[in-house]
């Protein structure tokens, strides 16, 4: 593949993310990887549902008292918005508008960072209340489920930051278009998982 081949918006293919065989392989492979990730999170969800509110005898924590919905609602809004901004970035990827794509991706990353900082705040808040990882089966399953999601967000942030800086000077080509596109798939996936966490962990924990 020729990395130096220059494109114009007119010569840029309609689906740059899968224009070569290598790109198609990455595209299909990444979808399959997300299939495996779905099962991974499903297992974590099942364990959380089985263990929530359960702890040693005289256990004093429950989902109803622990969770604070306003904070989690703000986090949800940040992450949902970041999914939208990544769609804008992909729109500009399709139209070969590198600068605007980078801008929207940077905004996506900032929103993701905001989400992650609030999650760190949330966790430290719980730990200060004595709800530590080793406190009970409930706490272990909660931190593992939500923490695995947070870890995925952190990985996504490192990934997109590297991509933005690595390609800042050279613009779009058919090699890095796939990388940008798979990042956006990953980001949507993280967002969908969070929608389930928000529903199953927080909403059903407080209201249900």
């Amino acid at each position: 593949m020729d990395l130096n081949k220059k494109f114009t918006p007119e010569t840029w293919p309609d689906h740059p993310e899968k224009a070569t065989l290598e790109a198609k392989n990455k595209f299909v492979g990444f979808w399959l990887f997300l299939g495996g990730e779905t099962i991974l999170f499903a297992t974590l969800f099942a364990t959380y549902i089985a263990l929530k509110n359960s702890g040693p005898s005289g256990f004093g924590y429950s989902t109803k008292e622990l969770y604070e919905l306003p904070l989690v609602f703000v986090m949800t809004m940040l992450l949902l918005t970041s999914s939208l901004t990544s769609v804008y970035a992909m729109y500009h990827l399709r139209n070969y508008n590198f600068k605007k794509m980078q801008l929207w991706l940077a905004i996506t990353a900032l929103l993701g960072l905001g989400f992650l900082m609030l999650e760190v705040y949330e966790f430290t808040h719980y730990v200060k209340d004595g709800f530590t990882y080793s406190n009970s089966a409930f706490s272990s399953s909660f931190y593992t489920l939500v923490g695995t999601h947070g870890f995925h967000v952190a990985i996504g942030l490192v990934w997109i930051t590297l991509l933005i800086f690595r390609n800042a000077k050279r613009g779009l080509n058919l090699y890095n278009a796939t990388k940008y596109y798979t990042f956006s798939l990953y980001w949507h996936f993280i967002d969908v998982v969070w929608v389930f966490i928000f529903t199953v962990v927080y909403l059903m924990g407080v209201i249900g």
């Binding site: 065989l21 492979g29 495996g36 990730e37 991974l40 364990t47 009970s136 272990s140 593992t144």
Partner: protein
């Protein structure tokens, strides 16, 4: 880089193997790595049988016996059977679909090195002196109570190796979806490719639960988690569910490629098209699907209740239907065929009755009420050895003889091959047939010794003698390998003379770019069609000779896996030493640095020029 072979020094050759991304070389690496662990697991099995050959034997202590059964099971499943099958998949599947490599050569290499370092990590437990001892299933209440670091080696070693397996699964899926040659429709794919495809899909959905389960175990033992601690609100049954949601599909991940291997062999040596090809494909997919629906039949005695037990009993018995379809198709492939009883065919013929017996005892256990009687007895041991040895290991031995010329360019000696078969086959039935009765007579599994005069003495002695015969068979195979490698008589493209699929259309072993021109696939068993029409070359080119794109080798997969290996020790010794935590962090950071290095460099491969290809083809006598 030139395609003309050059003499290389030892260092250069070693570097070449450590950095290779060529699917054929990675196939050989998997094969050698898996073969090494197969011998190790075999030695553990012999020690188990040696301990049990007479009542009140004291060859090993009760604790060491637990170590041996745990490591035997874990090694054979994760480090021997699967990697050897991956070896054949790597070596053969890209050739069968007319591809030049797998979809992700770099990830292919990474998958191998993760398996290798994971297996190494697990087996370092023997040297360290604290060995996993809670059985290969490592049920949580037992494994949490196990003192020392034994179970830590299990949890972390399998985590690393399992990650490699998941990558290999995704790699084969994408390879088969995207890289088939022109004309190779799904319903023209050889059965070994089909079974690889379905087994890979099963890996994709079965291994993430194992990943999670092992993380839970790791967190509970090393990082203060409480998933399985009853006193802290945890639930030990969760481990059983997660383990078997992985574990049951796992046995189909092993047996489906074995079915594929035998389908190729039956068809080749009956010199007939595989009978009922579409129903074979359908049965494979159906087994893959049903394999996920039956995990709780391992847990009938846990007390899930009659409704759950009934549902899982019915689902379990349903799997016998597609499996039966396959058995009849193999029989009908031979019906009216012109059969040649070569060594691979001998294994295939032995496989059918052996595997049917394992299948029938499986249906017996699927009946939940009967399972209450059979549970945890030697009947279970007999059953799963009949399906794993009588199915998977016979397939591995058959494939070793069948594809050896394609992988190494020389034929294994047929006479010695048949001697291996006779020893192994008789030894296998002698070891495990009697164990069904041992189960009926009340001998529980996983006991390190037994009192005399309970009616078990003679049966155990017979079983041990059988194990020795199997060992003799394997030794004959090793001698066969050494003799043929020393002689190294080169063979033609199609040494069996009856090859039907694309791997037999190119030389043995193939050049590193496999096909000088992309083949055109004209039907099921395309090489057979071409041969019947008198085309000696074996395939029709789909396009003129042109530049070939190839991937670059890389050392990063090895370094990346090594980081995880180091981090494993850090995690294990975190609480008791001051260096544990830093080593954990350094190991993980090292892996991330390797990932970043891979991501930031532009590795787009290289091209083999058209002129070079034409020169190669001319040198070989202008075929294709």
């Amino acid at each position: 880089m030139s395609s003309v072979a050059q003499k290389k020094g030892f260092g250069a050759t070693l570097w070449d193997w450590l950095t290779t991304v060529d699917h054929k070389k990675i196939g050989i690496l998997y094969f050698l790595g898996g073969g090494f662990f197969f011998v190790l697991g075999g030695i553990e099995a012999l020690l188990i049988r040696w301990q049990l050959y007479k009542p009140n034997n004291d060859l090993v202590s009760a604790g060491l016996y637990n170590d041996l059964i745990t490591m035997h099971g874990t090694t054979m499943i994760f480090l021997a059977a699967m990697p050897i099958l991956f070896g054949f998949m790597n070596a053969i599947v890209p050739l069968q679909i007319g591809a030049r490599d797998v979809a992700f050569p770099f990830i292919n290499s990474l998958g191998f090195w993760m398996f290798f370092f994971g297996g190494l990590f697990l087996n370092i437990s023997w040297i360290y002196g604290e060995v996993p001892d809670a059985g290969w299933t490592s049920y949580a209440s037992l494994s949490l109570a196990s003192p020392g670091h034994g179970i830590d080696f299990y949890a972390i070693g399998l985590q690393i190796a399992g990650g490699g397996t998941l990558m290999a699964g995704i790699n084969f899926l994408v390879t088969i979806i995207n890289m088939r040659a022109p004309g190779m429709t799904y319903m023209r794919m050889p059965l070994f490719t089909w079974t690889t495809f379905v087994a890979s899909a099963m890996i994709l959905f079965a291994f993430p639960p194992l990943t999670v389960g092992l993380f839970f175990l790791t967190f509970d033992r090393m990082f203060g988690g409480n998933f399985f601690h009853h006193a802290m609100g945890g639930n030990t049954i969760i481990w059983e569910h997660i383990f078997w949601i992985f574990g049951h599909p796992e046995v189909y991940i092993l047996i489906l490629p074995a079915f594929g291997i035998f389908s190729e062999i039956f068809s080749t040596f009956s010199r007939k098209r595989l009978f009922g090809y579409p129903s074979m494909v359908f049965a494979t997919v159906l087994i893959g699907f049903l394999g996920f629906m039956v995990w709780a039949h391992h847990m009938f005695t846990v007390g899930l209740g009659p409704t759950a037990n009934a549902i899982f009993a019915v689902a379990t018995m349903a799997i016998a239907v597609p499996t039966g379809v396959k058995i009849f198709n193999w029989l009908l492939t031979m019906w009216g065929g012109s059969i040649k009883v070569t060594t691979p065919m001998l294994y295939a013929l032995g496989f059918i009755p052996s595997f049917v017996m394992g299948g029938v005892t499986g249906v017996m256990q699927g009946a939940a009420p009967l399972d209450y009687q059979l549970h945890d007895s030697y009947f279970i041991v007999a059953h799963f050895h009949y399906v794993i040895v009588g199915g998977v290991v016979l397939a591995i031995l058959a494939a070793t003889h069948y594809w050896w010329p394609k992988m190494f360019g020389t034929m294994l000696h047929e006479g010695l091959g048949k001697v291996t078969f006779v020893f192994f086959f008789i030894g296998f039935h002698m070891t495990f047939l009697i164990q069904h009765w041992l189960g009926f007579w009340g001998m529980p599994r996983r006991v390190w010794t037994y009192m005399n005069d309970q009616g078990w003495d003679m049966a155990n002695l017979i079983s041990t003698i059988g194990a020795l015969l199997m060992a003799v068979g394997v030794i004959v195979l090793v001698i066969n390998v050494i003799i043929t490698s020393v002689k190294n008589v080169k063979v033609s493209n199609d040494p069996w003379g009856d090859g039907r699929t694309l791997e037999w259309a190119i030389e043995s072993p193939p050049v590193f770019y496999n096909f000088p021109t992309t083949p055109l696939v004209r039907g099921l068993d395309t090489v057979w069609i071409e041969k019947m029409e008198g085309n000696e070359a074996g395939y029709t080119a789909a396009e003129p000779v042109k530049d070939i794109h190839m991937p670059n080798g890389s050392i990063i997969p090895l370094l990346m896996s090594f980081g995880l290996f180091i981090a494993g020790f850090g995690a294990m010794f975190r609480t008791e030493t001051s260096w544990g935590l830093p080593v954990l962090i350094i190991g993980l950071a090292w892996t991330f640095v390797c990932m970043a290095a891979r991501s930031l460099q532009d590795d787009t491969g290289y091209y083999i020029k058209k002129e070079e290809l034409l020169r190669d083809m001319k040198r070989k006598g202008g075929q294709a």
